[in-house]
Amino acid sequence: MQYAMIIDLERCVGCHACTIACKAEWEVPVEFGRNWVRRLGPSLVNNEMASTYYPGLCNHCKEPACVPECPADTVETTFTNPKTGEKIVQEIAATWKDPIDGTVQVDKSRCLGCGACADACPYGARYVNPALTDDVSSDGKIDKCTFCKPRVDAGATPACVQTCITGARIFGDLDDDKSEVAAYVKKQAKGIEPNGGSLGPNVLYYGKKKDIDLLFATSTPELADLGMVRRRSMLASLGRSVEKSVKSLGLLGIAGSLLAASATHEDDDSK
């Protein structure tokens, strides 16, 4: 199974219902977004006037650039296919690609708030929400589109799809040949692959040729410089190890916790 979303630009009117519904559904802070809509043009595309939109969100990539960069310790996790009962056991860090439904998810309780995954994502689909903190991270927690997994698992549609006033957002299983999303793939709907990348994005765009040309010409990103990303995640990982080791000593109390926290912050500051 691979969940995917189609954005039909023939239907999209750029109204932002999707972005605002998402904000309400997932309590996204005003200044951030799990998804976005950018108006493109009017510009000349091959001497023809065009204007369209870039409604973007996490691409839940086949080979996500973000997942391998997470410095959190891994945890052995069992994933169960609700239909077949098939079980898959996998070591996962604080962000992973779900082996059952193909979505990319985050465990906020284990997230270090380092932002390495956000830096690694060429689409800018992740952000650190500074309002969410705990003893693991006082810098905030990563937040991103989950394809509304809790809603979808409960049988509902993603919030953005539900509110889309023209039916321009279509959600479904790419591996199901009879799904509407699969039908769009046959109509040449395609994802925005970063320059030189092969991530396999699972948000696919469909529209008039001139609009698709404008979208890809303006919105194809570069791959992140992973060297930079890794330096930051390594620092976060170091800080976290101190914290974890202090914690694992048991009840050190407030003083111990303060020491651990300050160590983390000094590492942060040294960046």
Binding site: V13, H16, A17, A24, V30, E31, G41, T80, D135, E266
Partner: protein, 745 residues
């Protein structure tokens, strides 16, 4: 401190250590997801409250609320709706941010400073209402009821507006929805087909759609957009006439990049082409039209070539449009538009659209203008009385109407001129209810002078606005999510589906907070104070809705049980009514001294160095009402001014440069915005979204964000048949780094 801890981090660390949250969490075997207290809960499992009717705009989509511990956390389309369905737009979704906006009005306020520069003092409702009634009574006793002017907007303003109009007896009511928006359209169609057209074109089933200026997509009304997109998906050809490559132009088969102000010439040439080449629906004209010969003779000079020169578009393109319309007749949606108060020559353009629809035989037919047959509910309000025409400013000494096709109320300019001159009588009291006349009506400085000379100004609103700064008493109203009022009725959005009708009353989804009150409470208290207690039609808003529902055999209880919407069998919307008549030539209009056949009246062109200022909508804002909504503001925080790319190059402007604007009368924008450099606009015009640049410091999000286009609309045009404003006859230059830049032709 050695540990470099901020106070906040210290407190966080301390509290977390004390609680000692375990690091390891149990992973759900079902999903692989971790239950984290940091994860937002989502709305799916929260209590669903039906009965909401949106008022982020006037389209009134049906809602349900998602409620957690008494607090609304999300709004959604009511899944039972046959209109908007489960879908609502960005503004609808952002209703939560209006409801809980910390800048909302909370208590009655008295201005102890001066009008326009207020200092607010919180007062009790008793004191506020006593002050309102005493001072309104003072105006009425001294100047008569005609001394009161009313500027209403929105569904709550209807009840107080009726009170002042019908019971108190002033004619001086100016609704922005008529005089700065759609009034011209309504009366032009009334003078042509006997009906106000709404936006009732059957777009889902059209083979061609003609939009003159309408920019659907930037202008969002959910079921309307659904109908439009469905039509395009079904293969309808789209023609968009607009000086700018609008959201609709981007979906069009033909974009007519017309010279602003010349639309009527374009329409006359198309109609003349259809007549000359016998490409019109002769049967329809024979059966339903009146005055065809006078009409044909009246437009015969409008050759395609003549219009091409006037409109600055290729002759071949006008012919292509005419041919495309004829080929797809009668299944053509000639959109009547909505905001049509553009140039002061608008009545004739709206008449032209109505006549073109007739030539195509596109009334009451699939894809044409089809009003649909909705259900009836009651309309209980203040009893009507005849107050004569003696103090009606729209009647002259001979009891003739100055603006014979004025929409209901009195043309704004007549009210303002009387207020400023005291002739024929003084206007010294002002009730502003839900309208923002400072940012809505052209000529801001004139409006301010009008308000300055009043003996008393009261405002009722949900939010502070640029107009509330001019109030003596400012009253806080409950929002559409906290009150009863409007009953929305209609049909299924696509006439190709099973015919159904719906009735949905606005019911509160949450309890009001602070000291906010509704329109019936406030109006009744004022009515009592003014000695009209006996005439009060209902005691509460709930009673009003209950009585109006009873007309349809319904009750609030039943509506609640039915999930907020009552749905019943509908009627076939197609088929021309027997008494339907189209007056292509209208003798009455001629008798009033105006052209009886649709006629093009040229408008003033920009002087050298200036471009015409055009304005329009963005999908995340409604007029100037939603400026302070944090979510909507964040989506589009400013209103860049569109300028042609070749023009920008000559001026040395780059995309994103910061600019101000100055108009040909010397009015300068208070704030700045950025330029959007694009080939998608003509060289003789610039464009910006309306509804930005508030001056009110109480709007902590909106104040000084973007430029207020209305502050640059100072040259006032009045449509001669209707008395409504034209607002696109102002010309601007740009200002960059304090230098005024000419805009080359």
């Amino acid at each position: 401190m050695a540990f470099n801890l901020t106070r906040r981090r210290f407190l966080q660390s301390a509290s977390l250590a004390a609680v000692s949250v375990p690091l390891a969490k149990v992973v759900s075997a079902e999903t692989g997801l971790v239950e984290s207290p940091l994860e937002a809960k989502g709305s799916l499992k929260e209590e669903t409250v039906p009965g909401g009717v949106c008022e982020m705009c006037f389209w009134r989509c049906q809602l349900v609320g998602k409620r957690r511990e008494g607090r609304l956390i999300k709004l959604e389309g009511n899944p039972k709706s046959i209109d908007n369905g489960s879908q609502i737009c960005a503004r609808g979704n952002a209703g939560i941010q209006l409801l809980y906006d910390p800048d909302r009005l909370k208590y009655p306020l008295k201005n102890v400073g001066e009008r326009g520069n207020p200092v607010w003092k919180r007062i009790s409702w008793d004191e506020a209402l006593t002050e309102c009634t005493t001072r309104l009574k003072g105006v009425i006793d001294k100047y008569g009821p005609q001394g009161i002017s009313v500027f209403p907007h929105g569904s709550t303003a209807k009840y107080p507006m009726h009170f002042f109009e019908r019971t108190v007896g002033t004619h001086n009511v100016s609704e922005a929805s008529f005089f700065q928006c759609r009034g011209i359209r309504d009366t032009a169609y009334l003078a042509t087909i006997g009906k106000a057209p709404g936006e009732k074109v059957d777009m889902p089933n059209a083979k061609a759609i003609l939009l003159v200026g309408s920019h659907i997509g930037e202008n969002i009304h959910v079921s309307h957009v659904k109908a439009y997109i469905q039509g395009l998906q079904n293969g309808a050809k789209l023609i968009v006439v607009d000086p700018r490559y609008s959201a609709s132009a981007a979906k069009a088969d033909i974009w007519v990049k017309i010279k602003p102000g010349t639309d009527t010439a374009f329409l006359l040439a198309i109609m003349n082409y259809l007549v000359q080449n016998k490409k019109f629906d002769a049967d329809f004209i024979d059966n339903y039209a009146d005055g065809f010969d006078e009409f044909a003779a009246g437009i015969k000079d409008w050759t395609i070539e003549k219009a091409a020169a006037e409109c600055d578009v290729p002759a071949a393109q006008i012919k292509e449009v005419a041919e495309l319309l004829a080929a797809n007749a009668p299944h053509v949606s000639v959109h009547p538009g909505r905001h049509v108060s553009w140039y002061g020559n608008d009545f004739q353009r709206q008449r032209s659209l109505a006549c073109l629809t007739a030539l195509l035989g596109a009334y009451y037919v699939k894809g044409g203008w089809v009003p649909g047959k909705g259900p009836k509910v009651g309309g209980i309000s203040w009893a009507k009385h005849d107050h004569g025409v003696e103090h009606n400013l729209n009647y002259d000494e001979d009891e003739e109407r100055r603006y014979p096709y004025s929409p209901p109320g009195t043309p704004t300019e007549l009210i303002r001129d009387a207020a400023l001159t005291g002739k024929p009588y003084p206007i010294k009291g002002c009730v502003i209810w839900g309208q923002n006349p400072i940012q809505t009506i052209p000529g801001q400085e004139k409006m301010k002078e009008v308000l300055k000379q009043m003996d008393f100004v009261m405002c009722v609103d949900v939010m502070p606005t640029d107009a509330t700064m001019w109030a003596d008493i400012l009253l806080p109203e409950v929002s559409y999510l906290e009150r009863y009022d409007h009953i929305q009725t209609g049909t299924q959005w696509d006439f190709s589906e099973k015919n159904q009708q719906y009735i949905a009353a606005r019911m509160p989804l949450v309890e009001p907070m602070f000291e906010r009150k509704d329109q019936v409470f406030i109006t009744n208290a004022i009515a009592t104070g003014l000695g009209h207690k006996e005439e009060i039609p209902v005691q509460t808003a709930e009673e009003m809705v209950e009585k109006n529902l009873a007309v349809a055999g319904l009750s609030l209880k039943q509506l609640r049980e039915e999930g907020g919407i009552h749905i019943q069998e509908g009627k076939d919307p197609y088929g021309v009514p027997e008494d339907f008549e189209v007056r292509l030539y209208n003798e009455d209009i001629e008798d009033y001294g105006f052209p009886g056949v649709p006629t093009y009246i040229p408008v003033e062109q920009p002087p050298a160095g200036y471009a015409r200022l055009l304005y329009g909508r963005v999908p995340v804002h409604t007029f100037n009402r939603s400026q302070n909504n944090a979510w909507l503001h964040q989506a589009m925080p400013s209103n860049p001014v569109w300028i042609n790319d070749e023009t920008a190059k000559k001026m040395g402007l780059k995309d994103g440069d910061t600019v101000g604007l100055i108009n040909s009368e010397g009015f300068k924008s208070r704030t700045t915005t950025t330029v959007k450099v694009t080939p998608g606009i003509r060289k003789d015009a610039v464009y910006m979204a309306h509804g930005y640049g508030s001056t009110n410091p109480l709007l902590s999000v909106a104040v000084n964000s973007g430029v207020d286009d209305q502050s640059l609309i100072t040259k006032i045009a009045v449509d001669p048949e209707t008395g409504a404003h034209g607002m696109r006859n102002n010309f601007v230059k740009l200002i960059k780094d304090d230098k005024v830049l000419d805009i080359p032709a």
